[in-house]
């Protein structure tokens, strides 16, 4: 299997390359670094835009040369340029052509460093791709030799979340990484005017945690049952906070961490469609995130 890296010769592309290096080093998969160039208008006509096309191709080649120089020697990669009507469409075409397992992309340059920000290309892909999309945080860099150490599956408690956990376990097994299952409780203290004390919400929170811990334990049990190669550590954790960033920060993150989120149940079955919670998790994640569409999650879960 291969992973497609959507590359552009700038800071975003560099973050995507670093993430792809880490992922490929962990799973042993080959990389296909791809630059998408605009397709010519009305093919077959007199080549009125020949010079422009030459320029595009030259730029693409330069970009790929640059990418080649960034990639460390222990990663096998091929480099390609692809003409397509749009960047997202082009990347999906290449992914299909190589039967890729994942598309790796960088964050938009319009956001904060260390966070994931969706740009026009990534936004469209996370809402329409039939395969998992890995997103690097803005300015993501790895040390030499860094591999994926731990996968964190964001667990929502629904039926599709169960298959997401299995899919994450399958990915973790492929990467040789540990897995942890995480849920996030975002709540705020009730106003003093309820006259129940500001900690009156704790009772509800405890109940929720008890129920969810049980569900997550069941999910762990299913991971152990289904997969032969159980990822080495399977742990469950609940992040609490009064806001999403607090709750996500609460569970602690290390180098080599990658988060896995699933697509919403509202979208078409086979494609990624980010729900409200996945979007928030994506926005505040301090580590790269793999977005798995529901269909792909079920496929991955069935593989084992």
């Amino acid at each position: 299997m291969t992973m497609i890296v959507g590359y552009a010769p700038d800071e975003r592309g560099k973050a995507a390359l670093h993430l792809a290096t880490m992922l490929s080093r962990s799973s042993g998969e080959e990389l296909v670094v791809c630059v998408v160039v605009p397709a010519p208008w009305l093919p077959g006509m007199a080549r009125v835009d020949a010079e422009y096309r030459e320029y595009l191709e030259k730029t693409a080649e330069q970009a790929l040369d640059l990418a080649r120089s960034y990639l460390p020697p222990d990663v096998t990669a091929t480099f390609t340029r692809h003409s397509a009507r749009s960047a997202p469409a082009g990347l999906l075409e290449v992914a299909e052509q190589y039967d890729a397992s994942m598309v790796v992309l960088g964050s938009s340059s319009a956001g904060a460093f260390g966070r994931i920000v969706l740009g026009s290309v990534t936004d469209r892909l996370v809402h329409s791709a039939p395969l998992p999309i890995a997103l690097a945080t803005r300015g993501f860099r790895i040390r030499p030799e860094t591999k994926v150490r731990r996968l964190t599956a964001a667990y929502g408690g629904s039926a599709s979340a169960q298959s997401l956990v299995l899919a994450a376990a399958a990915i973790a097994a492929k990467f040789g990484a540990a897995i942890r299952i995480a849920s996030f409780a975002v709540w705020s203290r009730p106003p003093y005017t309820t006259r129940l004390g500001t900690d009156s919400e704790d009772l509800v929170l405890q109940e929720w945690i008890a129920e969810l811990t049980q569900a997550m334990q069941d999910a762990v049990g299913r991971v152990r049952e289904r997969t032969d190669e159980v990822p080495e550590v399977v742990e469950t954790v609940i992040g609490q906070g009064e806001s999403w960033p607090d709750a996500i920060e609460d569970i602690g993150w290390d180098e080599g961490d990658v988060m896995v989120v699933g697509s919403s149940e509202l979208g078409p079955v086979a494609k990624v469609f980010l729900g409200s919670r996945a979007t928030r998790i994506l926005r505040h994640s301090p580590v790269p995130v793999v977005v798995v569409p529901r269909g792909a999650a079920e496929d991955l879960a069935d593989q084992e």
């Binding site: 929502g156 006259r195 129940l196 900690d199 919400e201 704790d202």
Partner: protein, 481 residues
């Protein structure tokens, strides 16, 4: 027989309560950051609810202009009970209501009784507040668009309507918010308090133009008993002083701050209420209050002769009553949640939706019941039921303070009632005095209601109580054999 009594008065160990609420997980270890000013503002903000917006039309016909004294009386009793509440809250470090305190100090049976009162204090008051909202909404519509919702859709059946639709819609909207998991932020809260105080000040300043001493000449047409009866009705508008007590663990130097904050809040609120009622009773003869809807707005319109002040007041009332309804509904669902947690109610009440992190079935059931009350029952009855429920709950709290001093004199208390035992005794006497002057029908319905709660306890809670089923031993702080 002895064992039955033991069961009826079994108490929930405090340590277990603390575990359930996650007190040991670090969630509730709060820094002592609240000072005197902030705490007083809490009290003022929580107390100036909405009662004052419609309680005059119920209380003035009963007491006449002497309703001013009813405010003083209700305020004094509310202050005494709030001080007792503060001691109990500091001695029993659990989140929640007087239900939790009663369960920990007095036992299971009294706790159920208190829970029945709390259903009135929260649930019924939510209905009363929603009905008041519909009056002000109608006033606002009339002033802005010259259009009024017909009586058949904005009045309870007893008052010539079919169903109070706006009140039901309000409760529906609040329920949607609660199910989604919205909570009012401190900022929104502060804005709402400002709106409420602003409206009352507006009323006082503009209403003074209509001052007519003739209206005050017959000051006490119904004597002392009229004053106490009205105090019973008015008590409703003092609910909230106990909010000060629930902030106990976050208060700096609680021994000094707590009683001072209660006092400051009490004096401020009472002054504001008295000014409002003086202006109101001086502006129009007392018999005119009877049945007057959206009272403050209507008086303002008569006095100023123009509609904009009334429109402004009605708009402010519509906004702030909305937030009060939301908060009271929220409180009701969380009290029922705690009861279900103890096994006193079916499991359904403590099911939490994993997505929204809110008790959805609980919220829906509460909303349906309160919507029916708000749709079908007139406001004066709802207000009186709320008052009697609150008074009895406070009565039990005051008794609880004395019981706890007897049974557990060494229990660490963050705050102690000053002038013990005079304060709790005065509080008890005050509550009883006001209760006995309420309308007989109110007391009668209240007794039936408590009876229903006890029947429920013996048919369901007695057997399902988690305390009973798990045979937990060890009473409060393991002091007793």
């Amino acid at each position: 027989m002895a064992s039955l009594v033991q069961q009826l008065f079994r108490r929930k160990p405090v340590t277990e309560m603390a575990e359930e609420t996650g007190a040991d997980t670090g969630q509730t270890e709060l820094a002592r950051t609240i000072g005197l000013f902030q705490l007083s503002m809490f009290g003022i903000g929580a107390t100036i609810g909405t009662g004052i917006f419609f309680v005059l039309s119920e209380a003035v016909p009963v007491a006449g202009p002497a309703v001013i004294w009813s405010f003083v009386m209700a305020g004094a009793v509310a202050g005494l009970t709030a001080i007792c509440y503060a001691e109990l809250a500091s001695a029993v470090p659990v989140s929640g209501s007087s239900y939790s305190y009663a369960y920990a100090t007095l036992g299971e049976l009294p706790a159920i009784g208190v829970a029945a009162c709390l259903l009135l204090e929260y649930g019924v008051s939510a209905a009363a507040v929603a009905v008041g909202w519909s009056q002000y909404l109608n006033e606002l519509f009339d002033n802005l668009f010259g259009f009024m919702i017909p009586d058949s859709l904005s009045q309870a059946p007893e008052q010539g309507g079919i169903f109070n639709l706006p009140a039901v819609i309000l409760i529906g909207l609040c329920t949607l918010l609660l199910i989604r998991g919205a909570s009012e932020s401190a900022k929104v809260n502060a804005v709402m308090v400002m709106i409420k105080i602003g409206i009352l000040l507006l009323f006082i300043v503009l209403g003074l133009q209509g001052w007519n001493s003739d209206n005050l000449s017959d000051f006490t047409p119904f004597g002392l008993s009229g004053i106490t009866t009205a105090a019973g009705i008015i008590f409703f508008s003092y609910i909230g002083l106990d909010a000060v007590s629930t902030a106990g663990e976050e208060v700096k130097n609680p021994r000094r701050t707590m009683p001072l904050a209660i006092l400051i809040a009490l004096v401020t609120v009472t002054t504001l209420y008295i000014l409002v009622s003086v202006v109101a009773v001086a502006a129009q003869p007392y018999p005119e209050f009877d049945g007057q809807e959206a009272g403050l707005a209507a008086i303002l319109e008569d006095v100023t002769g123009s509609t904009w002040p009334a429109t402004l007041l009605a708009a402010g009332a519509v906004i702030s009553i909305f937030s009060v309804t939301l908060v009271v509904l929220y409180g009701q669902t969380r009290i029922l949640f705690a009861m279900a947690r103890d096994g006193m109610l079916p499991e359904l009440f403590h099911k939490v939706n994993p997505r929204t992190l809110t008790p959805v079935p609980n919220t829906i059931i509460v909303a349906v019941v309160i919507a029916l009350l708000a749709g079908l029952i007139p406001i004066n009855f709802l207000a009186e039921m709320t008052s009697i429920g609150t008074l009895v709950a406070f009565l039990v709290v005051s008794i609880g303070v004395m019981v706890l001093r007897r049974t557990h004199p060494d229990l660490p208390r963050g705050f102690k009632v000053p002038l013990y035992p005079i304060t709790p005794i005065l509080s008890i006497v005050g509550c009883i005095w006001i209760i006995q002057d309420l309308r007989p029908v109110t007391i009668f319905v209240f007794l039936i209601w408590v009876g229903v709660a006890l029947v429920w306890y013996f048919l369901y809670g007695f057997k399902h109580s988690h305390l009973g089923r798990h045979e937990h031993v060890g009473l409060i702080h393991d002091e007793e054999p």
